[in-house]
């Protein structure tokens, strides 16, 4: 996967030790306007997803209307080619896109943390080999590999999640490795190994708080990317397939009937708002973590 420049910057920022960053700054993040807007939007989408049956005006799969009704009082977002109410489908779509994007991020985090943890902890040849492999994934155009895997596994949202996970984990691996290497040299790991705690214990217990914070920020930033990739694969027909109310797949129906603007517009806005919300939060978190914006030029 070609590392997005934002992600690179983040990795750099996240890896820098956080000792000086006071507690005060982390708490005040949630008072930043962009973070509030982001949280609100996500709150709305979560609510909509959980209470979809009550929020949605119609059954998302029911084909009881006329086709291509433009937005109107009965159908705020109009109806599609197969006579379905688009608003209801967008609402139910939140039940697919959000959980699967988060699942995708969690899976990538688990794999990345294991690989990065092993690499950083054991060092030496293990580290060199694993990082060489990670480098290769970084140079790899992720979406193309994801497309190939998704195509091989067959078009289904679960397969798309697997496909993207295969290309998404290296970011986490690199971060976790960097963090472990940083903490390894810090005093308190030396202190705890002097006190005789076992190495594995050091890895999982003592280092956890140092690692979980930055990893969490990266996850927040990557949910947006995950959602974009996932809906992208569905748009190409390699993820969720009809009649599933997945946002990317719905946009692709809009591409077929592009003169009926409402068919593709609204699901696209749904993707945009959800991704934007996560990016608002992620960006604010990153700025708080990295007030002096690192010495990236020389890195």
């Amino acid at each position: 996967m070609i590392l997005s420049p934002n992600t690179r910057k983040t990795l750099k920022a996240l890896e820098t030790p956080t000792e000086k960053k006071g507690k005060g700054s982390t708490n005040s993040i949630w008072r930043q306007p962009l973070a509030i807007v982001g949280l609100t939007i996500i709150g709305v989408w979560v609510f909509v997803a959980v209470f979809a049956p009550w929020v949605a005006p119609y059954d998302p799969y029911s084909q009881e209307f006329d086709k291509f009704i433009p937005p109107s009082a009965e159908h705020w977002m109009g109806t599609d080619e197969l006579n379905r109410d688009i608003l209801s489908r967008v609402i139910y779509g939140a039940r697919i896109s959000l959980p699967y994007s988060i699942l995708l991020v969690v899976l990538s985090t688990i794999i990345g943390t294991i690989v990065g943890g092993v690499s950083g902890f054991f060092g030496g040849r293990v580290d060199a080999t694993l990082m060489r492999i990670t480098d290769m994934f970084f140079a790899f155009p992720g979406i193309i590999l994801a497309m190939a895997v998704a195509a091989a596994l067959g078009p289904e949202i679960r397969n798309a999640v697997i496909a993207i996970t295969i290309v998404a984990w290296p970011v986490y691996a690199r971060l976790v490795r960097g963090l472990i290497l940083n903490s390894k040299s810090s005093d308190y790991v030396t202190a705890s190994s002097l006190l005789g705690s076992s190495s594995i214990r050091t890895l999982f217990v003592d280092l956890r708080p140092n690692i979980s914070g930055p990893v969490f920020v990266l996850m927040a930033l990557e949910v947006g990317t995950a959602l974009l990739l996932l809906s992208g694969l569905s748009f190409l027909g390699l993820g969720a397939t009809p009649p599933s109310a997945e946002w990317g797949a719905m946009v692709s129906m809009g591409a077929v009937n592009f003169d009926r603007w409402w068919v593709g517009l609204f699901p696209g806005i749904a993707i945009l708002t959800a991704v934007l919300a996560f990016n608002f939060i992620g960006d604010t978190l990153r700025d708080a973590l990295d007030p002096r914006t690192a010495k990236a030029l020389r890195d």
Partner: protein, 357 residues
């Protein structure tokens, strides 16, 4: 502090000792290893997941005929054990042979020569537009840090990176083609128009080389919309990155020195800040460029743009391993060489840098 000779000619620092040439050679070798690694990843990942390229490429009836299936497998070497297939592939690759595409039945190299320039053309325009606008917006953003213009630009660029590019393409096409009629439509030229004789494969360039200005301007009018759609994402990225780089450089001692000399702010920014920032920004633009090449897969079908993306899509759906590897390698090569180029630039422009690396 280590003693530094009072005066060393620039050339001496550059070409002796841990000079540039050995550096480039080392990096080129690494690049070759990386690219081989990429073929290995593509190969093993696609082998690990189930999926039958034969079924994907033969029709229903042909697939039920064992003879045709056997012939197909034999033709593309699919009857060999996996490791033999890979070794054969790498062997051919080292001789410059990318193999035959299962889906187009043509040599992959030939396919790439046809499709890559089309994508290259829009990606270059996109990156250029994004770079120019992004550097301007990012600099304004940094200079008005935390004030209104900065906030507006921040929201604007975050929106840029949050837009699903396939939806942007669709919406832009609807507005500029269907509603406003400004964009000429899909494809690279008017239906039936004769493409210019192929030199680079980029129609604009080829038409200009041919002296055919009518075709060149037609090509430009067709590529503008897809290029601008691609530029949206890169613009967001470059703007954010420029802001961060400029802010970081603004914090450097030498900027304080420049200000202490009473230079007007625009001179400080242009001469003392943007110059060093530009290298970092170009790095990011290079990375963004490589990801645009791959990302164009999501917009090319909207614009019926016969480029690398559409080819990648067809290869993926056809489980066409040589095709997939061809595309992956060309994108990865661009990515790796962008990085190499920038690293070389760093060393040429600022010999100091290598000490601190």
């Amino acid at each position: 502090m280590k003693p530094v000779p009072v005066l060393t000619p620039v050339t001496k620092t550059l070409f002796t000792g841990t000079g540039l040439t050995p550096f480039i050679i080392r990096r080129l070798l690494t690049a070759v290893v990386l690219i081989l690694g990429i073929t290995f990843i593509a190969f093993s990942v696609t082998q690990l997941v189930p999926g039958d390229p034969v079924a994907a490429n033969l029709g229903q009836s042909a697939y039920s005929d064992p003879d045709i299936v056997a012939a197909f497998k034999a033709e593309y070497g699919l009857d060999q054990p996996v490791h033999i297939q890979y070794i054969t592939y790498v062997g051919n690759l080292l001789q410059g042979n990318l193999g035959i595409s299962l889906s187009s039945k043509r040599p992959v190299a030939e396919d790439l020569r046809e499709f890559f320039p089309a994508t290259l053309e829009i990606a270059l325009v996109a990156v250029f537009v994004a770079l120019v606008l992004g550097v301007i917006l990012g600099t304004i953003s940094a200079m008005t840090r935390d004030r209104l213009p900065d906030q507006i630009i921040r929201v604007f660029s975050l929106t840029g990176v949050s837009m699903p590019v396939f939806w942007t393409a669709l919406t832009a096409f609807y507005i500029f083609f269907f509603v406003l009629g400004w964009a000429p439509g899909t494809g690279r030229l008017e239906p039936g128009a004769e493409p210019p004789p192929q030199v680079t494969g980029m129609y604009t360039v080829d038409a200009l080389l041919d002296g055919d200005f009518a075709t060149a301007s037609q090509a430009v009018s067709y590529l503008l919309l897809p290029a601008l759609v691609l530029a949206v994402f890169a613009l967001g990225v470059i703007t954010r990155f420029t802001r961060a780089s400029v802010l970081e450089i603004l914090g450097n001692d030498y900027v304080r020195t420049a200000r202490s000399k009473g230079l007007p702010e625009r001179v400080v920014i242009r001469r003392h800040v943007l110059r060093p920032a530009l290298l970092a920004i170009i790095t990011i633009a290079g990375v963004a460029f490589a990801s645009l090449l791959a990302g164009s897969v999501l917009i090319e079908n909207v614009f019926s743009w016969p480029g690398l993306g559409q080819y990648a899509y067809k290869s993926a759906v056809g489980l066409d391993l040589p095709g997939i590897m061809g595309v992956s390698m060309i994108v990865a090569t661009v990515f790796i060489f962008m990085n190499l180029l920038v690293d070389v630039l760093y060393r040429v422009i600022d010999p100091q840098m290598k000490d601190s690396k």
